[in-house]
Symmetry: C2
């Protein structure tokens, strides 16, 4: 059976329409009465009115004596009034005003007489220096209206107003149903062809931020009948049912059909990317939504389709991530017929934010955890140019981004190590590093998109590292070249060297597949230098165009047999227990913008780099010298 | 025994010094290993490195056929390559690449032959259209560094990286110890002289936002020995002990002495207002902090002293409230020697935010729940002028403030009712009303500080309501006067009219105490009009200067016996079951800025005002006609 999307709807239309649809279908949560002390962050189901005033008795606002104001009328320094002992009472701040009295005279205005009476040189108005009943809250005052999220201080006002129980909306009961033949639970490590199910953990966390009660069902195999039955069963018990995945329109994508058969399908296919295969429907009195399997797509649908539904169910708007303006660091292309979501890394340099788009693969969960913010490209937008000022929804607190050291350039595991040292040293400091290769780092320094750029660029002519590159490319920039580490570059080969490689010339062998680094990477530059020296052309090397972005990625390809050989640093070879043929001892240095030299984060970074503790640690990693 | 503050420290010095002190004293939390699936929002105790790559096998990025790239080398449309049946395999997107193959040809590039072989017109590079092992995450990659709050997507990356358990910091264990002879638990309503304990509920909620585990102790009476013993006992079990109150320097304030006797007192008295009587100390290995009893003071100390301590304990910075710029609506005076905190209501009108300072009484819990944001006046600042541009820390989400209808002027309970109707009608809409009286509302309209101003201003000459005032004061403003409700103004008197009042002239009687409304209130204007008509002067009325800001506040004073009589609307008298002597039927109308007429919130407000549902409701309240 061939199955297709329905009309692919624009996001706005889909969400507002779906919420309207949910209303018509009577989808909603019930109410319950709970103790105020347990009501934090809950949402009121009706307005609450104070039952008692606060303060509920007149109390003194000063240390002094309680008096009857009428007895002081007309008092002046020339015509003072005397109050006999017994016609006044001493009170401290906060004390109740004794019956019969209606004002307080500050202790410093009381002139004590021998006989225990007092002289007053000025008259008191009724309730002078008294906190009168209801000064804070009056009986009958509305303390909180309907459908409002109860704050910490609301709790105080409610209790002060004599309210002990409050009617709130029940928490939204949500359930996540993972489906798919290839999906396995995280209990065990996945075998080849198996994909570990982790979306439900991500969704649960996201929904917990909305104070939903979330359950997760066992994984269901792809089967239309079973899925339909299960959806019916869950819809009877929950307010929100999230089916993941099978929301697409392929052979084994049953979600939309299951919704159609068991209830009403409102939308299948939304004009967003990633996330197009979203499903919106109603079964029984539950909102049933289908999410794509790729985590990046699913997250977009969660944020843009599921959250609004939760908000509808809670009659309450949740906080939106704050927005900032940033300068786009790289060009982005977008398809006209989709609203596109691009995750970005943000760096704050010289007062302005730079947004660097992250890889957009829908399967890259790492792109989610690396993201500092989200850039949205509306429908009918062809893309953005580098340098454009864009609006970004923040995923991380602003103050964190303002305390983030921005590094861009050549990858080495020690950068992450320094980042970790930094966290341990100063919990207010963060690090953000992008692996764009040495040349990428040089460009970022030039464009003011990073504070520090790690580079290792060999000057073929002189055989000297980095100095030439800095002079050549950064002559107009005010930078300092800080000495970093010496590290061993060499060939990664499987343990025992089965194919008996000796040196760079073996890369041309018919039976050897190589794995390379991306253009602009210092390691790639080194390879090309060595190839030239040995008169090797790229056509002679099988796999020359298979590019990886990190040393560990290269080691991974060799370790898993995708390649017979790759070029990289010793520490990565050691990490993967690979054999290593040393080819070159190189210098991995750091270009620092001088306008960042006084930045405390940069200072801390350099302190760590030069600390004995750090040197010990990386020496342990292997292949590094100082 | 007379006890004094120590040296009163500036906030910055106190907090940084105290955190340093906690470090020296070895105050900190332990670590624990927990399942990743339970680790959301927890803080890592060490860096986590991927144990397996993701994807952990090569899988197809396309629907097509898996082939061996070498067999396609040199293929062109003129020199095609033929692959015999069995030398390739059909794969769907996501399928593992069968052993022996290293590339995928997209199905649309495959030319099928009669005999089941395929023709390829172009060559494939190794790993073309293949998601290679580790494309997302490589074994050994650092997924999250030390002391980082685990996000939803981190959970995904950790699981994808084969990590099932993670070492995190234990949650901060905090305990709140309420103390005071006058303090009673919220289980029962308080008697005269008793104060209901609600600070612990507020503190617990605030600390729960930091993911602390919070316990609350039973209320402890004021007794130095018992307090000292209890603090010792709690310090042994908790990371953070909060003593509330008794932190001041009065006769019964034992907190600082208890800390001194049982451990080390670091600071007593901080140069902030409110909140000066804060205490910072260490007992055993716990941070022990004393907070003042007044809720507003205590909240300031929580935010500015306790939160930083929790952050130190968690090695982690929490999100700060976002800041916005606002125009100060009223003058604020500040004392040079304190850093002062002033809560404000915010209104967004015509693109800019207006900040209206709330009453600053330390006991006004309502000022906490009404606050939209906080204005901080630094040390050595004398205050701010109306019109100054100030920076505000937001307490409410920005989008909420942008969807808030701003009302400023005369108080009537029906405004809250409309606000509640608005919440029920549109959960994205909010209302904010300030009770500044009719004249205050007129001024706010003039200064563009509100969208709608409810007024009821009688023109003595014509006896006509509101029109004259609008013409007189708002001639230069583009506004519309919208008809509101007719309501009964009259005298509030205790049930049964014990003192037998008849009319306004009785207010001059010796035995009558009156309670008035604030200057600028329409009801005050009405009173003055009636007094003038009857030749009564303010001196003749006892209690004329006792001012309340709302009708319910006036009713409260009469109901509790603070006054024999007050002037206000019937609905308030009815609410308090008071007798009511009608004096005047007045018109309570709404001045609307025309530049706000298209504002959807204003439209919704007016729709509600004119709806039958609303009219029924307020008719039920009594004293209103349309």
């Amino acid at each position: 059976m061939d199955y297709r999307y329905g009309k692919v709807m624009p996001l706005e239309e889909a969400v507002t329409g779906y919420v309207e649809f949910l209303k018509q279908e009577g989808v909603g949560v019930e109410t319950e009465v709970i103790p105020v002390s347990k009501a934090y962050r809950r949402i009121t189901a009706e307005a609450s009115y104070a039952l008692i005033p606060s303060p509920h008795y007149n109390c003194s606002a000063m240390d002094g004596i309680a008096i009857h104001s009428r007895e002081t009328f007309g008092a002046t320094s020339t015509t003072p009034v005397y109050l006999q002992k017994g016609s006044f009472e001493i009170v401290d701040t906060g004390d109740p005003i004794p019956d019969g009295y209606d004002a307080v005279v500050m202790i410093e205005d009381v002139v004590w007489q021998e006989d225990g009476s007092v002289r007053l040189d000025s008259s008191s108005a009724p309730w002078a220096h008294v906190r009168q009943v209801g000064e804070d809250i009056c009986q009958g005052d509305m303390i909180i209206p309907s459908y409002s999220r109860i704050s910490a201080s609301h709790l105080g006002s409610l209790i002060a107003g004599g309210i002990r129980e409050i009617k709130v909306l029940k928490k939204v009961k949500a359930v996540i149903l993972p489906t798919g033949d290839e999906i396995v639970s995280a209990d065990k490590l996945p075998a080849k062809g198996e994909i570990t199910e982790f979306n439900s953990v991500i969704f649960s966390a996201m929904l917990s931020d909305f104070d939903c009660e979330v359950d997760v069902e066992p994984i269901l195999k792809d089967n239309l009948q079973n899925l339909t039955d299960k959806v019916k069963e869950l819809a009877a018990k929950y307010d929100l049912v999230i089916v993941n995945a099978g929301s697409s329109a392929g052979r084994d994508d049953y979600s939309s059909r299951a919704v159609e058969t068991s209830g009403k399908l409102f939308a299948h296919g939304i004009a967003i990317r990633p996330g197009k295969p979203a499903i919106m429907g109603v079964v029984d009195k539950a909102a049933v939504m289908g999410l794509p399997g790729y985590p990046v797509s699913a997250a977009v649908v969660m944020e843009n389709c599921v959250f609004p539904v939760v908000e509808y169910l809670q009659h309450s708007f949740a906080a939106r991530p704050p927005k900032i303006e940033a300068v786009l660091g790289r060009r982005i292309v977008s398809e006209l017929k989709y609203q596109e979501y691009v995750r970005v890394k943000l760096g704050r340099i010289g007062g302005k934010f730079i947004a660097i788009p992250l890889p957009r693969g829908a399967g890259l969960i790492s792109s989610l955890s690396h993201a500092d913010g989200m850039l949205t490209l509306p429908l009918a937008n062809e893309g953005m140019e580098a340098g454009d000022v864009v609006e970004i929804d923040l995923y991380k607190p602003l103050h964190q981004l303002e305390n983030t050291l921005v590094i861009n350039g050549s990858h080495d595991p020690i950068i992450d190590v320094i980042g970790d040292f930094l966290r341990k040293k100063d919990y207010q400091a963060f690090i953000s590093s992008s692996h764009t290769g040495s040349m990428g780092g040089i460009t970022a320094i030039m464009k003011g998109e990073c504070m520090i750029a790690p580079i290792h660029l060999l000057d073929g002519a002189t055989g000297v590292y980095n100095v030439a590159a800095v002079n050549k490319y950064l002559s107009d920039c005010d930078v300092t070249l800080v000495k970093g580490v010496k590290r061993q570059q060499g060939l990664f080969i499987p343990k025992g060297n089965p194919k008996n490689l000796k040196d760079i010339n073996d890369l041309t062998r018919e039976d050897i597949t190589f794995v390379n680094r991306q253009k602009g990477a210092g390691t790639r530059v080194l390879l090309d230098y060595l190839m030239e020296k040995n008169g090797i052309t790229s056509e002679q090397i099988c796999g020359y165009d298979n590019e990886m972005y990190t040393h560990t990625a290269v080691a991974t390809q060799v370790a898993c047999g995708n390649a017979d050989c790759g070029l990289g640093v010793y520490s990565a070879a050691k990490l993967y227990d690979l054999d290593f043929i040393p080819l070159f001892s190189e210098e991995y240095d750091l270009v620092v913008r001088n306008d960042c030299m006084d930045n405390p984060l940069v200072k801390e970074f350099l302190e760590i780099l030069h600390s004995d503790e750090f040197k010990e640690f990386v020496t342990e990693m292997g292949g590094y010298t100082f």
